[in-house]
């Protein structure tokens, strides 16, 4: 349990660093480290497939996409952030921490939930047989993403000769 809490704290710290770093590259990398922590937390929660996906896709693929974008916009992409926002951040963070803790503590005994038995079947069966509709929707989302990228990066010359 202690290890789990440490991992969660690491996740929070690296997410916080991701927004505090001025250098975008460092920010993207600490986001990747945060994903790594999240992936390990998933493993320890008995969700190995989600963990693998989190580490390979979010920490891997999405970070690569981020770094690509940062590289493409490097030249004049520096933006002066507001100083105040970063200084005030710890204050707000601690405030929210306290509120969050109080809310969660007061809700602790109040959420009723149905008793649940152990789950039957394997992961593959659940994914294919219970959540089949999600797979259709996933195909839709992937189409939408691919077509969106195609539309946003289409060549200008084509517009003229049509």
């Amino acid at each position: 349990m202690v290890i789990q809490i440490l991992l969660l704290c690491g996740l929070i710290i690296f997410s916080g660093l991701a927004i505090l770093f001025k250098d975008l590259l460092k920010a993207a990398l600490s986001l990747a480290v945060a994903s790594l922590f999240l992936g390990i937390i998933f493993f320890r929660l008995n969700a190995p497939y989600a963990g693998v996906f989190e580490i390979s896709v979010v920490a891997g693929l999405i970070t690569v996409l981020f770094i690509l974008t940062i590289a493409l916009t490097k030249k004049e992409g520096e933006v002066e952030e507001a100083k105040l926002a970063k200084v005030v951040f710890p204050l707000f963070f601690i405030l929210f921490l306290i509120i969050d803790g109080l809310v969660m503590k007061s809700l602790l005994q109040k959420v009723p939930s149905l008793p649940s038995g152990p789950e039957a079947g394997t992961f593959g069966e659940v994914l294919w047989k219970q959540r089949t509709f999600d797979l259709v929707a996933q195909i839709g989302v992937i189409f939408a993403g691919v077509l969106a990228v195609l539309a946003l990066f289409r060549k200008k010359e084509d517009d003229k000769d049509e």
Partner: protein, 492 residues
């Protein structure tokens, strides 16, 4: 076959980019319109079974093995499906001519079809997480479509829209996660049953707050409306019509009220909160619309205001109120679709959307002016057009439920609506024509055709109000008014 509403648009969208390599215009045009016409036909075919049976639940078997591809259709879903098919067919007809100067038609149509597939899926699935997913399908396609012109405004509006809407769907998903945690399942039926057994009012209240934040932002209710007046006017005209006419209603209003009525169950407190939200959006957006110079921005604010009416009617909770809200949803989808397409025609004809520059177009472009007048009067609620009846029903329902204050505000807001629509008419179509517009021509055939079809629907529904109301709106309202019982009866 109910499943075709999701599969056909996706299949056509998958092939369109490849076909687009060989045929840049003709084949994509024909294919898209044929697919959408087929869906419209299909949804009309389903009217009779729904009218007789009440609900249809279909399962698909994948090579003889049982998989969970299940769609559930009742009056409410069918009503939404029909609205989506009808308006999107007109929009794609309009795009035939309008998209000429954007180019890349195949890509545009593919995105449009993915968006329609997303909306159809959202309407059909009886499962909370799938609702979120299809909402995301439609949303990702809509970000790209808003930015389709690749101009400065388009990109900016699309980015803002994306940021806000990602946060919105995160909140909606959190609400879904909490319900999942309490009941251990995600299908409407099981969650509704579980919540009945649990009687957990406070936690459900938290979930509803998340849903109102998430779906309310998608529907652009007033505290969450900031993205809409940017995103809707910046998009190409057919997409504005799509977003304002359909997407905010499907991914905002439909999702919110489907979950509230069929899963969580309506309570008096919730009803009051939603009615207050609806009224605030109705009034604030109508006031904001008055000051706009850009035709499309004015229409966008008007959309927020009219969504307020729909929410007010649906949140009232009496069968008549729900029927009025749904009827107004349909009328607004048709009329606002018409007005946005029409603003596209105006832009195509004159090259500007600024009301101060326009004037006296009426004599030169009678079809555009006439259809615009019909749409505007229908939304503003002038008899005998369709919008009049739906607003009348909402007001009567409010009076029946003894909510006189809301009824009064609804009537006053309707007068405000009439005022700013007459403003458009006066500035754009009447008055003296300026020298600049002496040589303008009427919009191309398909653009005018789409406008005329939608205008005819406005008039037709207004005149044949009683049969339309009986066959279309009442079953939908009944399905919703039955609330949780309706879902528990599905017998899945």
């Amino acid at each position: 076959m109910v499943f075709s509403f999701i599969v056909i648009p996706l299949l056509v969208a998958a092939f369109l980019p490849i076909i687009g390599k060989f045929s840049k215009k003709l084949v994509p045009d024909v294919l898209t319109n044929a697919a959408l016409a087929f869906l419209l036909f299909n949804s009309i075919l389903l009217v009779k079974p729904i009218f007789n049976q009440g609900t249809i639940v279909q399962n698909v078997n994948w090579f003889g093995e049982k998989v969970n591809l299940q769609v559930a259709l009742d009056g409410f879903n069918l009503f939404m499906l029909f609205t989506i098919s009808l308006v999107s067919l007109c929009i794609s007809l309009f795009s035939i001519d309008y998209l000429e100067h954007y180019g890349h038609k195949a890509n545009f149509y593919a995105l449009l079809l993915v968006m329609i597939a997303g909306m159809n899926g959202l309407v059909l699935v009886p499962d909370l997480f799938s609702i979120y997913l299809f909402l995301e399908v439609a949303a990702v396609a809509s970000y790209a479509l808003v930015a389709f012109g690749l101009g400065y405004d388009e990109l900016e509006a699309s980015f803002k829209y994306l940021m806000l809407s990602v946060v919105a769907s995160a909140f909606a998903l959190l609400g879904i996660t909490i319900l999942f945690g309490m009941t251990g399942s995600l299908s409407f039926q099981a969650v509704a049953q579980g919540l009945q057994d649990l009687n957990a009012r406070y936690v459900v209240g938290v979930c509803v707050a998340f849903f109102i934040m998430g779906f309310g932002l998608k529907a652009a209710l007033v505290p969450f409306h900031a993205w809409l007046p940017d995103a809707h006017p910046s998009a190409p005209a057919p997409i504005s019509a799509m977003l304002s006419g359909l997407l905010i209603k499907v991914s905002g209003v439909y999702a919110l009220f489907r979950i509230i009525y069929s899963v969580i169950g309506m309570t008096p407190v919730l009803s009051q909160v939603l009615m207050a939200l609806g009224t605030i959006s109705m009034v604030v957006a109508a006031l904001l619309a008055l000051g706009q110079k850009d035709v499309k921005r004015m229409l966008a604010y008007s959309s927020i205001s009219q969504v307020g009416y729909i929410v007010l009617g649906l949140a009232l909770g009496t069968p008549l109120g729900i029927a009025g809200g749904l009827f107004h949803l349909f009328n607004h989808a048709v009329a606002k679709g018409l007005l946005f397409l029409n603003s596209g025609s105006i832009q195509h004809i004159t090259g500007t959307r600024n009301l101060d520059e326009l004037g006296g177009l009426g004599k030169r472009v009678p079809i555009t002016a006439g259809t615009n007048l019909v749409g505007a009067l229908s939304i503003a609620g002038v008899p005998p057009l369709a919008g009049f009846w739906s607003k009348l029903i909402i007001v009567i329902a409010l009076i029946q439920a003894k909510q006189f204050g809301y009824a009064l505000v609804a009537i006053l807001a309707s007068i405000l609506t009439l005022w700013y629509y007459l403003l458009i008419q006066r500035k754009a179509f009447f008055g003296k024509i300026s020298e600049k517009w002496l040589h303008i021509k009427e919009a191309p055939f398909w653009m005018s055709a789409a406008n005329v079809i939608l205008a005819l629907i406005c008039i037709f529904v207004g005149i044949f109000f009683t049969p339309v109301f009986k066959t279309w709106i009442s079953p939908a309202a009944e399905a919703l008014a039955k609330g949780i019982q309706q879902v528990l009866m599905w017998g899945i």
